[in-house]
């Protein structure tokens, strides 16, 4: 179809492998690249038996290389460990310690996959990059703007993590799986006889083994020689009565129910965490409901911007069903979101993504 080179980000998983195979079948000139983002031998105290499915494990690199060989395309591993630590891991740790619950995947997409990786693709002479994300990108011929839509398979949609993409980035990005269901992708992988066709999926944050953020942060801070002074505090109810003690506010996240270690007649949830006073506030489920929130650092994707109040559906975490709301622009570029129905566990530090039916209008960080 075209000789201009497309760099495919290959993780060794089914999705990116199938994306590469599809582009190859369509006649594109492709090269596979795996980003080495994190050295899993760092922080050995976190090591577990199970290393497959964790980012940059040797098994995954082996799989990606095997797939590239199967497809007969050039393949390289590129080292982005420094950039990953600077733009993803450290901000993740800082945000957590500041009492927010960050999403490293969005940072990684914004600063690594569609920034450093795109630059690297450019360096080696590739005109575009492709990934195995479930999302759709197309150009609006009338406005000239690149638009992003949710994946056809809404259960696999990954636009919640992709709101940070800019117009120049979208212009050079391909998501070959956006029109497909996961089942179709599995079928295609089998049809292409890909060595990873039956590989299990990974859901956890790639550099945090077993999803244990607190253990990761303790190990990382210890490695960095960073001893934060206050790591203990009180668990209080919404009236301020102390119900118990905790081992560091960063171990709690808004909406969390398990592991509070506090006996109560009814289920208690974390309502808020305050890293300065190391206070963790807990309360009943209905105390988690919020009608409004402010969103900062907005990136407008399919919309050009917001000059007057507008209607959108807003997603406040991955898998959350977008909730109808009114968006009002604030003077400094932030947006105030007023939900039609109060939403549970609006969590500072998480992303908020605005949708207009299947169109991704834009997104930002919840304050």
């Amino acid at each position: 179809m075209s000789d201009s080179l497309i760099a495919v980000a290959m993780s060794g998983g089914v999705d990116s492998s199938t994306a590469a195979a599809l582009l190859k079948r369509q006649g594109h000139n492709i090269a596979g690249l795996t980003m080495q983002l994190w050295n899993q031998r760092r922080l050995p105290q976190l090591s577990t038996e199970e290393t497959t499915g964790r980012c940059c494990s040797l098994d995954d690199v082996y799989d990606a290389r095997h797939v590239a060989e199967h497809l007969g395309v050039p393949y390289y591993v590129v080292n982005l460990e420094r950039q990953f630590e600077d733009t993803v891991v450290r901000p993740f740790v800082e945000e957590y310690l500041a009492g927010r619950t960050p999403i490293p995947c969005t940072l990684c997409n914004t600063f690594i996959k569609f920034d450093r990786f795109l630059a690297l693709a450019d360096s080696v002479g590739a005109a575009a990059v492709a990934t195995g994300h479930y999302a759709r990108v197309s150009r609006n011929e009338k406005t000239g703007r690149w638009e992003m839509r949710t994946a056809v398979d809404f259960s696999k949609d990954q636009t919640y993590f992709l709101w940070g993409l800019t117009q120049p980035q979208l212009a050079r990005t391909l998501f070959p799986l956006g029109e497909m269901t996961k089942a179709q992708v599995r079928e295609l992988a089998a049809e292409f006889d890909l060595p990873v066709a039956k590989k299990a999926e990974s859901y956890e944050i790639c550099f945090v083994p077993n999803g244990d953020y607190a253990a990761f942060m303790d190990a990382y801070l210890a490695e960095q020689g960073d001893s934060r002074p206050v790591t203990r505090g009180a668990i209080v109810d919404t009236e301020g009565h102390e119900l118990g003690r905790h081992e560091g506010a960063h171990r709690y996240t808004v909406g969390q129910r398990r592991g509070l270690g506090v006996a109560a007649p009814e289920p208690l949830y974390v309502i808020a965490t305050d890293p300065r006073s190391q206070t963790v506030t807990v309360g009943r489920n209905d105390a988690l409901l919020r009608s409004t929130m402010t969103v900062r650092d907005i990136n407008w994707v399919s919309w050009e911007g917001l000059t007057a109040p507008g209607r959108a559906s807003v997603r406040i975490r991955n898998r959350h069903v977008p909730a109808p709301a009114t968006l009002s622009p604030l003077a400094d570029g932030r947006v105030e979101v007023r939900f039609d129905e109060p939403q549970r566990a609006v969590t500072p530090g998480q992303g908020a993504v605005f949708y207009s039916s299947d169109l991704v209008a834009g997104g930002g960080w919840i304050e």
Binding site: L5, A31, L33, T34, Q36, C56, L58, V61, R65, P74, Y76, V77, V78, N79, E81, A119, L120, D122, S123, V124, G125
Partner: protein, 362 residues
């Protein structure tokens, strides 16, 4: 006849043994030693390990002197010994990549049992003043090992001229297949084996001999290769690049170098990206060293020479072989020029106007 085990008594085994001993004589002759002083093994890494652990195990807790620019086979063997309580001194090279004999001398202690310094560095190609370093080691009653994987079989080399007590050879560097190598062990030097089994290789390397590998190694050694003639081609490559690419310069001493190696720094260019770009055009060059996944890490050799991590990352190593032609070199020069121009054009860090005021000097 070659299906026999060279240690067997029967005639099949004897035929294999004859082939093995012919190979041993060939390799011995090529480096000027006796056949009994050759220990066949699996390659350069095993040779280095056998030399270092072989000496260290017979001198528990001894001090070892090596250089900071050694191959990982030496550096990681020494690092392992450090964890077992052996003190190790890593002598840094100068800015030209040369390890000075006087610095080696200064590092020696009464309990130094072994000095290990490579003959030629694999990344810069710089040839080290081995004879002087060996003399310094011997004066202090220490043994001297040299990793000659980059030179053995490529350049005329005699163990006595170098003053080596132990010398590592890797087969695939000069035409033998991967997976075979040899360690020269001077006849009055004792070493402890790395592993235990039968009495092969005079109790220095247990395990059924790799007869076909050894035969190939012997044959390659007997061809008396001399790559010195490659220097003209390498110089053409280097001059072509330096003349046409602003802000490029050679890493390491240029007058004491392997004839086939050139290590060039391109300011404002990521060596990793350039390596991939050139590979996609059919040219195999390298940058830094590959970690276990295959990703590139900045060269420990260039860092030890005092280059900043940024400069180390912007360096690319070119290695020629006897089969390379003038046409290929001209094509490579063109590809490098285009690749650097493209990389600098899109690099946010490279300001061409600023760099034009400071032309590059070799």
């Amino acid at each position: 006849m070659r299906y026999g085990n060279a240690s067997s008594i029967h005639h099949f085994g004897q035929a294999a043994k004859r082939a093995l001993e012919t190979a041993r004589r060939q390799i011995a002759e090529s480096i000027g030693c006796g056949p009994r002083e050759i220990v066949f093994n699996s390659g350069g890494t095993e040779s280095d390990n056998l030399a270092i652990f072989g000496v260290a195990r017979l001198h528990p807790g001894c001090h070892i002197v090596t250089s900071a620019i050694e191959h990982p086979a030496v550096l990681n063997a020494c690092a392992r010994l450090e964890t077992e309580g052996f003190p190790v001194t890593y002598v840094r090279p100068d800015g030209e990549g040369i390890v000075s004999p006087s610095q080696i001398q200064a590092a020696l202690r009464p309990d130094t049992a072994l000095v290990s310094v490579m003959h030629a560095n694999n990344e810069t190609g710089v040839i080290q003043p081995i004879a002087e370093i060996a003399a310094a080691a011997h004066e202090a009653a220490a043994l001297f090992h040299t990793d000659a994987v980059q030179t053995a079989g490529r350049l005329p080399l005699k163990v006595n001229d170098l003053g080596a007590d132990l010398l590592s050879i890797g087969g695939h560097k000069f035409g033998a297949p991967k997976g075979v190598g040899a360690l020269y062990v001077r006849k009055d030097v004792s070493i402890s084996p790395l592993f235990y089994g039968g009495h092969h290789e005079r109790d220095r390397r247990a395990g059924t001999e790799n007869v076909p590998g050894a035969m190939a190694l012997g044959k390659a050694a007997s061809l008396a290769n001399d790559w010195s003639g490659l220097a003209a081609l390498r110089d053409r490559l280097e001059r072509g690049i330096l003349q046409r690419v602003p802000c490029s310069s050679v890493n390491g001493a240029v007058d004491s170098r392997l004839p086939n190696t050139s290590n060039i720094r391109f300011r404002g260019v990521e060596g990793e990206a350039m390596t991939i770009a050139l590979d996609l055009r059919g040219y195999a060059v390298s940058s830094g060293s590959a970690c276990s996944s295959g990703a590139v890490e900045p060269s420990h050799v260039l860092l030890a020479m005092g280059l900043s991590p940024e400069d180390a990352r912007s360096s690319v190593r070119f290695s020629l072989g006897p089969s390379n032609t003038r046409d290929e070199v001209e094509g490579l020069i063109e590809a490098v020029v285009q690749s650097v121009e493209h990389l600098r054009r899109i690099s946010p860090d490279f300001d061409s106007a600023e760099n034009e005021r400071t032309p590059a000097h070799v």
